[in-house]
């Protein structure tokens, strides 16, 4: 598979800085009385990235690494512990927000500082596509109702006819035609691919500028995945929309993404151009991920492949100190004897994410430049454009 489309990217529309989503663990009355400390699940633990217009930005990682939570946090579907996200909405939305007294800076709005009511207009701008096309549509809603809900919520289209027209247009855009045939059906009367098209239609019907696609094809039959991806790729040029594409499938990521961010245990460990990252992984974890892609060549089926990783994902409540990957890191294991410096760094200080090659960011002490940053005691420089 080669990269399908290359498009001209526009200006930056989203900048996430040090996003943390910590879920507090429920304490009962005796814990409170005994003054036990509040524990957290560190689902997302300091993530920074930026997205440009029309860009497809991929979040990759194994399940539980916080990629979905990152997406949901941007929609404020999960409580954010700390961090900032600056988002540049369209002009109309900005005007509405201005009227509500929301402060903006160069057209950027900070998402997490808003009140729920102030955030509502932005929900039209940031949309989400879910992994499970069976669960994400209310079984009691007809296709029409599913799509109309967005219009009703955001008061788009004043009459029923007008709304139906918009709905028809959206369905055409996701190639769910003939529209009349589908519009009155219930979700259970559609196939998985058709449902996912409805879900996409729901995401685009409000004319958003950012869509968070949470593994939109992973639950679909392989045969229809390509079609759905095609639809998504078309949309970005058609609607000028950017995507945060969450996936654990590197093949899909390579096919669709402009840039990839590899996440491990709530943190981005590597970030860079999609094809470059996959062709030439810099972080031991990325290496391990790529090595785990099944080899389609039947001749190799009996060959033992050495795993580039050991152990299991640690508990997100008790994050290992230092580099969070070091207990599983083969590189650390192999080199700690020879490279004594590693032993002082990896289990102790968290490596910052920083540029080691042009447009390639990684957080690993394999690279002397990163060691230098830490050793010189400079403040952790987060990835910056």
């Amino acid at each position: 598979m080669s990269h399908a489309y290359r498009v001209e990217l526009g200006e930056e529309i989203l900048r996430v800085q040090d996003l943390k989503v910590w879920f507090p663990i429920k304490r009962d009355i005796s814990d409170i009385l005994l003054r036990k400390p509040q524990l957290y699940v560190h689902a997302v633990d300091g993530v920074s990235f930026n997205i440009r217009k029309r860009e497809i930005f991929c979040l990759v990682g194994e399940s539980g690494c916080g990629k979905t939570t990152t997406g949901k946090a941007l929609l404020r579907l999960v409580p954010v512990h700390s961090g900032k996200a600056f988002f540049k909405p369209r002009k109309e939305t900005l005007e509405i927000l201005d009227a509500m007294g929301v402060k903006s800076e160069n057209g950027f709005v900070e998402l997490f500082g808003l009140k729920d009511s102030q955030f509502r207009p932005l929900r039209r701008e940031i949309q989400m596509i879910y992994q499970d096309p069976y669960g994400s549509l209310n079984p009691r809603f007809r296709i029409k109702d599913v799509l109309e809900e967005v219009l009703l919520v955001h008061k788009i289209g004043s009459t029923k006819e007008e709304r139906l027209e918009i709905i028809a247009k959206a369905l055409e855009m996701v190639k769910l035609t003939p529209v009349e045939e589908f519009i009155d059906r219930y979700p259970h009367q559609l196939s998985g691919g058709q449902r996912q098209r409805v879900a996409i239609a729901r995401a685009i019907i409000g004319n958003p500028s950012l869509i968070i696609a949470d593994e939109p094809v992973s639950m679909l039959d392989v045969s229809i995945r390509a079609e759905i991806l095609e639809v998504l790729l078309n949309l970005r040029t058609l609607l000028d929309v950017s995507f945060i594409f969450i996936t654990h499938d590197l093949a899909v990521a390579r096919y669709i993404c402009d840039r990839i961010a590899v996440m491990y245990l709530g943190k981005i460990v590597e970030l860079g151009d999609a094809r470059e990252v996959i062709a030439d992984p810099l972080h031991p974890y990325t290496e391990a991920l790529i090595a785990a892609i099944p080899d389609p060549d039947p001749a190799n089926r009996l060959k033992f492949r050495d795993l580039k990783i050991k152990g299991e994902v640690p508990n997100a409540v008790f994050i290992p100190p230092g580099c969070r990957f070091h207990p599983r890191c083969i590189y650390y294991e192999q080199h700690k004897e020879t490279d004594k410096e590693l032993e002082q760094l990896c289990p102790v200080v968290e490596p910052p994410l920083s540029e080691v090659k042009p447009e390639r960011y990684v957080s690993c002490y394999r690279y002397p430049s990163i060691r230098e940053i830490v050793k010189s005691g400079l403040p952790t420089v987060n990835k910056k454009e």
């Binding site: 579907l77 989400m128 549509l137 079984p139 009691r140 809900e149 919520v153 259970h188 639950m219």
Partner: protein, 540 residues
């Protein structure tokens, strides 16, 4: 691999056919339809005022026998009634010849005439059982000038003879003699005419009085008792016939075995009225002219003459101690049962369902507090609290107040189950998706969650209707019912209050109770048939 067939719209559509597939669903549905139709008919036919008459009108004692058992449960003694309208009238005839020489003097010397009218009716009595009672009403209207103007005479001027002639030829007299001299206007010999105002309408009832218990000082007392005495002596029971009362003895005879049995055959009811009157006032060309008599106020006429053989039973259900037909009460109670049962259960389940949905949606401290409140309401002892509240409201208790009280105590019932369902639904992706597109909490609760929960709560509502009806009956029994509404509970209360159990008036409580059981069972059956259809499997 992900073929999860969820409950779908298609399945919803076939609920009704599923409902009718179980036997409980079938029976419940049939019973519901029958009762619903009956209730609609009752409301349409009688209206609210008609229904309330059951508790508020006092017309019943004029219409029906008191405490009569159902007719299928006892050997039937047929009712009979002879009234003036059905009687054959002979006369009035004027004559100038009478047997009594003293009275003849009146005619000869005082320019008078003797006018006599005979009314005669009859009924057949064919039964092995004595009637429960007989009753008589006899009221005579006497014109002001209906007597010759006499100063000296001692003779009777108005002669009245009223009797029943039995098949064996014996006569039982109610009255046999003169009317008191100087009487004019309406003479109540026995019985009563009652005017009852109902809804602005005046209704006249003729109420014959019981002959079993003839009241002290009645005009007929002396004649009737002596007549019965004679009959008793004739039958060989000078000390009275055991087990029979005066009104029943009219129909008594002794058969070959020496037992006292009712005399079957044709009974004649006769009334003879004769009076002496000034010829000029009533005669036209030597003939009696009724119009002239009326015009001159010189008439003597019976206005009411009713002889009634009271049945010893009434209808299929009998009557209560206030003479109200039980059957009618059962019918009248039906719409009230529907209204009370439906309003209380549906309102309280609706409140509970919505509360539970909201409590399931809010997983924070808000939901937690909501559940503690439910815990508390559910821990309240139900009947004691209801009784206490009823005591507090005692004077003002009406059906809506009662319904309100029950709603206050019932609403928390379904909350726990509903909440656990809501918790599951709120975890569904489509709920989060709705949140993601910006749907408000209200929209999510009402459009996404509540419709899923609603069918199940309806099953809960249907299942809790019996509880409401039984609770109303229990409160009524203790005297905390709506005094105006003719509910089955009120009927049971009457039975309890008059000590029907020990008095043997079993029909007073058997039928209302059965009606209640059937009504409740209808919804229990329906609910049990509905439950598996609408209840999604709950994760344990």
């Amino acid at each position: 691999m992900f073929k999860r067939k969820k409950k779908t719209g298609k399945k919803q559509l076939s609920n009704w056919s599923l409902l009718l597939r179980t036997w409980s669903g079938k029976i419940g549905m049939a019973l519901l339809i029958i009762q619903l139709l009956l209730a609609i008919y009752v409301v349409a036919a009688y209206g609210e005022t008609g229904l309330k008459e059951y508790t508020q009108s006092n017309k019943w004692s004029y219409l029906y026998p008191q405490s009569a058992p159902p007719c299928w449960a006892t050997d039937k003694a047929p009712p009979a009634k002879v009234s003036l309208e059905d009687m054959q009238v002979t006369g009035p005839e004027a004559s100038f010849q009478v047997a009594d020489p003293k009275q003849q003097l009146l005619i000869d010397y005082f320019n008078a005439v003797y006018v006599e009218t005979v009314y005669e009716g009859s009924f057949n009595y064919e039964a092995e059982e004595f009637p429960s009672d007989t009753a008589l009403a006899l009221i005579v209207e006497v014109g002001k000038n209906a007597t010759v103007n006499l100063q000296t005479t001692t003779t009777d001027i108005i002669i009245l003879e009223a009797y029943v002639e039995r098949p064996d030829g014996l006569k039982v007299y109610f009255y046999d003699g003169k009317l008191p001299v100087g009487e004019s206007g309406t003479v109540f010999l026995y019985g009563q005419v009652a005017n009852i105002t109902e809804g602005g309408e005046n209704i006249t009832f003729i109420k014959p009085y019981s002959l079993n218990k003839i009241y002290q000082g009645a005009l007929i007392e002396q004649y009737f008792t002596s007549s019965i005495k004679q009959l008793e002596e004739y039958l060989g029971y000078p000390e009275g016939i055991p087990g029979l009362q005066q009104g029943q003895i009219i129909m008594a005879t002794v058969n070959e075995q020496g037992q006292v049995v009712p005399l079957n055959g044709e009974y004649k009811v006769v009334l003879k009225i004769g009076y002496f009157v000034d010829r000029d006032l009533v005669l036209n060309n030597g003939q009696f002219d009724p119009n002239l008599a009326k015009q001159n106020d010189a008439f003597v006429e019976p206005t009411v003459y009713v002889f009634e053989v009271k049945p010893n039973c009434y209808g299929f259900f009998g009557t209560d101690t206030k003479s109200r037909p039980i059957g009618l009460g059962l019918l009248f109670g039906l719409p009230y049962a529907f209204i009370l049962g439906f309003s209380v259960t549906f309102i309280s389940t609706f409140i509970g369902a919505f509360y539970g949905t909201a409590a399931g949606y809010w997983k924070d401290i808000k939901g937690e507090i909501m559940m503690r409140v439910v815990d508390i309401v559910n821990s309240l002892p139900f009947l004691p609290i209801l009784i206490a509240l009823s005591v507090a409201f005692r004077s003002a208790i009406t059906l809506p107040v009662l319904a309100g009280l029950m709603i206050i105590l019932f609403w928390a019932g379904p909350v726990i189950v509903v909440r656990s369902m809501a918790l599951q639904i709120s975890e569904q992706i489509y709920v989060e998706a709705a949140r993601a597109v910006g749907a408000s909490t209200r929209r999510i609760l009402f459009k996404h969650m509540f419709p899923q929960i609603f069918p199940y709560t309806m099953a809960i509502a249907v299942l809790s209707i019996p509880g409401v009806i039984v609770a109303e009956a229990s409160l009524s029994l203790l005297g905390f019912g709506d005094p105006a509404a003719p509910t089955w509970g009120k009927m049971l209360q009457l039975a309890y209050d008059v000590g029907a159990v020990n008095a043997g008036y079993w029909w007073l409580y058997l039928f209302p109770g059965l009606a209640l059981v059937i009504f409740s069972a209808t919804f229990l059956l329906l609910g049990r048939a509905l439950e598996p259809i609408v209840a999604p499997k709950l994760v344990k």
